[in-house]
């Protein structure tokens, strides 16, 4: 009982520590410019003005479109490639398999910041700087190892006998994958897609280094360029509102993600 209490207290501290800044920014986003700095946790003067402002600024809307577009395209490509690679890694023995796994691990571990200047130069030369593909490419590079890892863990959970059984039941390799393996892997693919999307959505480093205009700036970067409606106006409220807006999809994803209890999905396939 005592231990339970201790753990509960510790958990509560961690949760509060993590949540206070988030709630603070939510609170800021609902404050009027005048009350911004009053230090009250609960706004005395509620307003939706900040939200109205950001959706009226081209800058933000454009950045939102960029964010969504770039993250979606990167996710789709990374998950499709990752699924194929993970399937091969978990099912086949081919020369260079451990090398492939090793290299992808290396990429995942690589400090991204060390790649920023070379990438900057390369993209300038190749004409990719400040374009969607200019961000999509590095995102895929870093998301692929993540995708391959999570997906191969999922594929490894699916008993190989199922694929053999499908073949014995008269399926071609493609049919076995489509009708038996894919439905079982779907939750894994979905989970991976969410993780990859969040990774792309949250990125700041590449987005600020490899863009220079509204044409391809994503929201996290656009936020840092926010100036408010006029030059003299304090943009804090607007920045807070924008921050809240881009956090919402993540919160939704995480809530949805939790519902998917992936373990137990393959239970009953084999002896239980």
């Amino acid at each position: 009982m005592n231990a339970k209490l201790k753990w509960g207290l510790l958990d509560a501290i961690v949760v509060v520590f993590a949540l206070v800044p988030v709630l603070w920014i939510v609170s800021l986003s609902f404050k009027t410019t005048a009350t911004l700095t009053d230090g009250n946790f609960i706004p005395r003067d509620w307003t939706l003005e900040n939200y109205r402002t950001i959706f009226q600024t081209d800058q933000f809307v454009r950045a939102l479109v960029n964010s969504i577009g770039i993250a979606l395209i990167s996710t789709v490509i990374a998950v499709v490639l990752g699924t194929m690679a993970a399937y091969a890694i978990s099912r086949l023995d081919f020369p260079g398999k451990s090398l492939l796994v090793g290299v992808s691990l290396l990429i995942a571990m690589f400090p991204q910041v060390s790649l920023v200047s070379p990438l900057f130069d390369i993209e300038r030369q190749a004409g990719l700087f400040d374009t969607w593909p200019g961000l999509i490419l590095p995102y895929i590079t870093f998301a692929l190892p993540l995708a391959i890892y999570t997906l191969s863990a999922f594929f490894k959970q699916i008993p190989w006998d199922l694929e053999k059984a499908a073949k014995m039941d008269g399926a071609t390799q493609a049919e076995a994958f489509r009708k038996v393996i894919a439905p079982l892997a779907a939750p894994g693919v979905f989970t991976t897609a969410i993780l990859v999307f969040i990774f792309c959505w949250n990125d700041f480093l590449f987005a600020i280094s490899l863009t220079s205009t509204e044409q391809s700036r994503t929201v996290p970067v656009a936020l840092s360029f926010f100036t408010g409606a006029s030059q003299f106006e304090d943009p804090t409220g607007a920045i807070s509102a924008a921050a809240v807006v881009i956090t919402i999809p993540i919160i939704l994803f995480v809530l949805f993600f939790q519902k998917r209890i992936v373990a137990g999905l393959t239970s009953g396939a084999v002896k239980g």
Binding site: D161, K164, A165, K167, M168, D169, G170, G268, A269, K271
Partner: protein
């Protein structure tokens, strides 16, 4: 339905393991054949080659007279039951059983009819709409069987289909499998590492070891005339007793005493190449309480009784005899059998297991006079494992 012929079939895996060494086997149409052997002897590999799940490295596989080496599993028209059952967890029992038929693009109504029929035979009708996760082990096993029988394939392959069931259910399912096979008359290749299952199920049994076929025959032949030490020790439960014997001045010197050479054994040992040190094999039932067989030909010896297990119908009597006396000839066959038995966590036995009539009065702790039927003993060459007595019988016709 079809016959299956393996013609010098070899399998070497990419890592260099040769799992199956050029085996020859002819399986007749409608036959129920069992592949048995210790774990790792290449049974599953052989089965997977017949199924088409593993490539055949060399040799030829013919099903129904047709070479199928290069055919995909789906073009071989064989069904398989896996040890893990391999039911599709996202499909109901009905969908699982219908899967092969749907892939064959069969008419919906016909599919339904066939699935219901199979479910009826296997007593699964009330579970048709359940998912595999909500079934017991025995029910899952039956669904796996159902998925195999619905499409009436040319042959069934089963890889240790009962080994995940508890002992009682396994015995029940064993009879059910046997009955089903008789009823359908479909050629069946059944893999098991359990010799009891092998003996009770099959028309013929193939004993395998380390990628080689040791002996093929009906269960009784394997039991009565094992070709070598390995088969002798593997088939039969409790296992055959093995004793080191030495041929010396016309007598067989054994831990039981000096055995006279009968005509049968004499002719075996008179062969020019017969070794002087041999291993003698005696099945437990070839012993008897000497009191009950006074006057019958044979050899009688006295040994201390270690343990008596009364089965009602007869008695298992464990005798304290040093069967591994100092100069036991080394035999790879025996070493391997011991390793295999070790897998079933039996302590290695030193002593004789005998099966005596229920009327026997032997008592634990006392000495017993035991009779041994010399006509039934086998003599093996320790270096090759060959059954020398069998060679003589075969030669004698």
């Amino acid at each position: 339905m079809a016959d299956i012929v393996l013609d010098k079939v070899t399998k070497s895996y990419p890592d260099g393991t040769v799992a199956v060494h050029g085996i020859d086997l002819e399986i007749a149409d409608g036959e129920f054949i069992i592949l048995v052997g210790p774990s790792g002897c290449g049974k599953s590999t052989t089965l997977n080659m017949i199924a088409g799940l593993e490539d055949i490295t060399s040799g030829e596989l013919r099903i129904g007279g047709q070479r199928v080496n290069d055919k995909a599993p789906k073009d071989r028209d064989i069904a398989m039951v896996f040890q893990s059952y391999a039911l599709y967890p996202n499909m109901t029992v009905r969908e699982n059983m219908a899967f092969p038929l749907r892939l064959a693009k069969m008419d919906k109504q016909l599919i339904n009819q066939k699935v219901e029929e199979a479910a009826r035979v296997l007593e699964l009708t009330s579970y048709l709409d359940r998912k595999p996760a909500n079934l017991s082990g025995g029910q899952r096993q039956r669904v796996a069987m159902g998925r195999a029988i619905v499409r009436s394939p040319k042959a069934f392959l089963m890889d240790e289909p009962l080994s995940n069931l508890d002992a009682k259910l396994r015995v029940q399912m064993r009879t059910q499998v046997s009955r089903l096979q008789k009823q359908l008359g479909t050629t069946t290749v059944y893999v098991t590492h359990d010799q009891t299952e092998a003996m009770t199920l099959g028309d013929r049994v193939v004993v395998m070891r380390a990628g080689y076929i040791q002996q093929v025959g009906d269960p009784q032949t394997l039991y009565d005339s094992p070709v070598n030490l390995f088969v002798a020790g593997f088939i039969g439960s409790p296992a055959m007793n093995f004793l080191p014997v030495t041929l010396e001045s016309g007598l067989l010197r054994s831990p039981l005493g000096d055995l006279p050479l009968s005509d049968r054994l004499g002719s075996v040992l008179s062969a020019a190449d017969a070794p002087r040190k041999l291993i003698m094999g005696i099945r437990p039932e070839h012993f008897e309480d000497a009191r009950l067989v006074e006057g019958t030909d044979g050899f009688t010896f006295t040994a201390p009784v270690d343990l008596v297990e009364s089965m009602g119908s007869d008695k298992y009597v464990y005798l304290n005899v040093d069967t591994r006396g100092g100069d036991t000839p080394a035999s790879t066959d025996l070493a391997e059998l011991a390793a295999d038995a070790g897998g079933a966590d039996l302590p290695e036995q030193n002593g004789l297991v005998t099966r005596l009539s229920a009327e026997s009065r032997v008592r634990e702790g006392a000495d017993a006079r035991v009779w041994l039927n010399l006509d039934k003993v086998h003599l093996f060459d320790p270096s090759t494992g060959t059954n020398l007595t069998l060679r003589e019988e075969v030669a004698a016709g």
